[in-house]
Symmetry: C2
Subunit: 433 residues, 2 copies
């Protein structure tokens, strides 16, 4: 589709040119072999180690600019140190070691007329990644996009601009040193929100947009974008503890899903407990989590059990409000509801889940299979923690994010998920009768 059809307001000329260069570079990337791509990734990894002082100094600048009132969690996400740089380097080397998804043949058939058909993976083209705060996203996103043959524009938050700038310069040099066009990526340093709006209308320049950040960023991109989105939305994850659950396992798994790292999207928000076991299970779960400082938001039935069985914990229990069932607490707060049976648990998850990760703890094969078949989420677990939904854990070589949408990709977005299968037909002059 030509630009004139799709774009109303004009982009600043420099930005337009950068995206046009990105688009040309994406054509060259389609042809680039795995060896060259791995060489670039390895060279960037070397440069990160060699120039770690420069990166850390830029990061110190960003940190110094933060207002005093900045939340510690936010400051922590922005902070780099030697250990985090080493993890970034390790991640680059892992992506280099993974097989190149481009050209992978997914299906082959020969039609009755002799036409040979193959379904083959190809890059998506130009990816526009909009992210908040964490500067390690720069290398993670670039490496996955590049290895899967895509050009990428990166637009981070203004808080991390010095760190991101140092990384962009280092990446550009490493790519150039390998004899490649540095226009395979574009690190934006213009943080104007209106500019992002204009870009989100340019489906002639951008094949897919990937927002990674809070609810407001996602909602903004979803409203504005005229091109497809790979959405890394929130995780409102449940675990249903069935009447036939192994109690010790249920306590261990729910505790892990809730308290091991409560600030991430695959952590648990709501535990649903079968009424027949609630009196035994809830006190045990309370005892296992009490040292973490967990706060409970309970329905009336759960509240009365806990108040009766663990009166000393009274300060930690509250009556849940209607909004709690739809709230991603992202902290040491857990919703708890008692349900009569599996059907009631399924209905609750269908209504309140965010299609991310859901689990059932049960000894019943029948109930587990029904749960796994029916729950409409990216990952559905039986007797395991929701915390496993992760690109590295799944062996996908990192992730651009975790998709809660249904089209194109669900769950961790790895190399393969940044490609698209095309049909390749090879004939001897076949025509359609």
């Amino acid at each position: 589709m030509s630009q004139s059809e799709t774009s109303a307001a004009a982009l600043p000329q420099g930005i337009e040119e950068s995206f046009l260069k990105l688009k040309s570079a994406s054509r060259l990337l389609r042809r680039l072999g795995a060896e060259k791509k791995n060489q670039v990734l390895s060279r960037i990894a070397d440069a990160v180690l060699r120039e770690s002082d420069v990166i850390l100094q830029a990061n110190a600048e960003d940190l110094a600019r933060l207002p005093e009132s900045t939340a510690p969690a936010f400051r922590d996400r922005l902070t780099l140190n030697t250990k985090r740089l080493e993890a970034m380097v390790e991640s680059l080397r892992q992506v280099a070691a993974l097989p190149d998804p481009v050209g992978e043949v997914l299906e082959e058939k020969t039609l009755p007329n002799g036409l040979e058909l193959k379904r083959v993976r190809a890059p998506l083209g130009v990816i526009f990644m909009i992210f908040e705060s964490r500067p390690n996203v720069v290398l993670e996103a670039f490496s996955l996009a590049f290895k899967s043959g895509n050009a990428i524009a990166l637009r981070g938050g203004s808080e991390s601009r010095a760190t991101a700038g140092a990384l962009y310069r280092l990446m550009g040099r490493a790519i150039g040193d390998c004899g490649l066009d540095p226009d395979v990526f574009y690190g934006m340093n213009d943080y104007d929100r209106h500019l992002v709006s204009l870009l989100l209308e340019r489906q002639d320049l951008i094949d897919v947009v990937v927002p990674r950040g809070g609810d407001r960023l996602i909602a903004f991109v979803q409203k504005q974008a005229q091109m497809p989105i790979i959405k890394n939305d929130r995780g409102l994850c449940h675990t249903y503890v069935d009447s036939e659950a192994d109690h010790a396992m249920a306590v261990r798994v729910v505790t892990n899903a809730k308290v091991q790292r409560p600030g991430v999207c695959n952590s648990l928000e709501t535990v649903l407990v079968n009424k027949s076991i609630a009196e035994r299970f809830l006190p045990a779960l309370f005892d296992a989590t009490v040292s973490s400082g967990l706060q409970w938001k309970c329905d009336s039935a759960a509240l009365s059990i806990l108040q009766k069985e663990r009166p000393e914990g009274r300060a930690k229990f509250q009556q849940a409000q209607a909004a709690d069932w739809d709230t991603e607490h992202l902290g040491l707060v857990m919703n708890c509801r008692i349900v009569s049976d599996l059907e009631e648990a399924l209905a609750h998850i269908d209504r309140h889940g965010s299609r991310h990760s859901e689990a059932i703890i049960t000894g019943s094969v029948e109930k587990a299979l029904l749960f796994q078949a029916e729950v409409d989420a990216a990952a559905v677990y039986w007797n395991a923690s929701t915390r496993f939904t992760d690109g590295f854990e799944f062996g996908l070589g990192g992730e651009l994010g975790i998709s809660t949408q249904k089209l194109h990709v669900r769950g961790p977005v790895g190399l393969r998920e940044l490609t698209t299968p095309r049909w390749i037909g090879t004939g001897t002059g076949q025509i359609r009768p």
Copy 2:
């Protein structure tokens, strides 16, 4: 995401209720086995044959309501007859005969901690199909959606309302006769465009919208929809005739791609001819297509060759205007441009192609492989006609349309393409360390 977050203006209550029923029905469909689904399809097929008089009478009503001035092609698309009904029945039986994609295992792995992971196909949920004129879309879309476990809302054009209504009634009865809830589909008979706008904001009710029709419908849906789209956009298809082409084959394939059925999306709009063979090839192509009445829109070089070599055809040649290279003529009009080499052909296709179907005619393996690797389209052919891009031809059991987008599906949209792979994890109490 809850409704309150996503919806501003309210839907009429009856419509809201119908979509809520559709959503509940989609949960039941996830569990429905292949046998039951096939029974329903077969029962509908029987009913179409048995009640063909009723359907044809309703169709006659629709046709009688058309204004005198209606274009013959439009009237033809709306018209049903016994032969077309039989084709619809045959299509229903073919879909019933195809394997059920739901539950298909795409990948299996066991993590080092013993957690078993499977990637399994599941239905998308609720599909909203908006189509124009052709009433056979009702059964084709319903059968593919239903067999792949999806609930579907169908909203056709008001011109076909009597025919569609007859089909909806028959489908509802057949589904009920099989003991199933007829709410697995919703045949809308409200043709208010504002209502469609309101629905396109309701991502809480609709998982994916599929527009099938002209440029204006697609643009409208793309602008309004807050949920993902499977886009059946236009086909601006090219064939590049290389210097190393077999001339007779090139003439046969290009003629087929252009004139065999010029009104469809996989027909050819532009032939690109290598300059070294143009003087020999163009007159031969002219001779092969002249009886069809084909009109040529040529660049200057092609025009002067044709005027010199085939002066008697002068009335059929015109200088191409800039807009022609971006125009889907959908008729007996062909663009023709002479290019210096493969790179120029690739650049032209990259700029003007609609990512649908593209072809190269050449005897060179090297050039063919480069063309197939680089051209960014849903289907890329070597020595074959672009007309093959079709769900039935590809053995996919029909199609909901042909996608020109890159995310989720490219090319024909069959049963598998109406599913989404989820991750299913089965453990023995694994937790994340």
